[in-house]
Symmetry: C2
Subunit: 196 residues, 2 copies
DNA sequence: TTGATTCATTGATTTGAATCAATAGTATTT
DNA sequence: AAATACTATTGATTCAAATCAATGAATCAA
């Protein structure tokens, strides 16, 4: 059940069987049907979710009720609203399942406890946050630098698997484009390809 | 000399005098004149800098040789290219002094050593990365949501001190605008204000 | 102090993406 | 299988910001 989860952790830190037993005691397994929410705007984000199966997304809705996707989280990824999780302020984000999914939830108290009880987990999170920061910085600079077309092709290149599984308008939303614009870009790309 | 630096650290963790002594032994004080580089594109980022006086900026240059400012770092802030610092790959960024500045440098070996020797420093960095990630996410969502005018006024509101000290075209660069556009926005804002 | 850069403003024009609108195609549901 | 809801495409138009270009201010260095 927690295999994927332990695999992920082992990819960076080393866990003893005793450590794993502690995790098993403090973690919650949860299933989510397609379109079900894990978190809704206004709630406090009570846990960090590891996706062991399926795919979730986090997004916010602006005043014009446009959705902006912040993150896709397929199997092997973590998702949560870190801001709300840390501060216990109410969240501006929604998190829901794009596909029927299976999650490992770590509640706030569990998270605090586990970081103390399993120092390697603290270290894991340290690296996780640091890595997330670095990736996000890359994403931001790409936003500034790349043309719309380049943003799209780069995304396809980096996450071909995710892009395959996600409806086109969500890709547009992640890139900060309208679905119309993305549709036109794809048309242009196909035209280019056909030339050769 | 290191007062500002210890103040910053103490704002989150507790350091003993012994800890401080260790820091004093492993840290380098450096002065930088206005326009001098701390890091240039192509180099490996060898240290994290704490700004005790003055102000630096990090930025990259795109193919059209436009500068894009990633971060301003006035006194009390850290700056570096974390990506290059961690991976020891060569950096795409430049870091230079906007004003004549005074820095506390922590080299990579010092950083690794200090995190071991002063566990509280490890904890500090954990929080630092986590916080930086959360702020960056806010910045990204603002990029998507806010109008150009709103981005500018929000920036003024959050960092009035920094905006005071920085030339206008750098603010434009930070916001991802041309200097012309920012100039026109300011004109519009002044016109609005004059109405009341 | 006087050139020389660098910086900010303003105007005219172009351009890329958003918006508005309609239609066709694809899934879901009952 | 029909009905209803999503999803993607295409066209026409609008709009905000970039680009191009010129001038005026301010800062810097000799």
């Amino acid at each position: 059940m927690l295999d994927n989860f332990f695999d992920k952790l082992s990819n960076g830190i080393t866990l003893t069987e005793a450590d794993k037993a502690i995790f098993r005691q403090h973690v919650i397994v949860k299933k989510l049907r397609k379109r079900q929410y894990l978190l809704q705007e206004g709630e406090i984000c009570k846990s960090v979710a590891f996706v062991s199966k399926g795919m979730l997304r986090s997004y916010f809705v602006d005043e014009k009720s446009n959705e902006h996707i912040i993150q896709f989280a397929p199997e092997g990824w973590f998702i949560s609203d870190l801001y709300s999780f840390i501060t216990e302020d109410s969240s501006n984000l929604n998190i829901d399942a794009i596909e029927s999914s299976e999650l490992i939830l770590i509640t706030k108290t569990a998270h605090v406890y586990l970081e103390k009880a399993v120092p390697e987990f603290f270290k894991f999170n340290y690296m996780q946050y640091r890595g997330a920061y670095i990736s996000l910085q890359k994403r931001l600079t790409d936003m500034f630098t790349l043309s719309t077309e380049e943003k799209y092709t780069k995304l396809l290149k980096i996450y071909p698997d995710i892009m395959q599984r996600v409806p086109q308008h969500m890709i547009a939303s992640y890139l900060g484009l309208t679905p119309e614009t993305l549709s036109r870009i794809r048309k242009k790309l196909i035209a280019k390809k056909d030339k050769f």
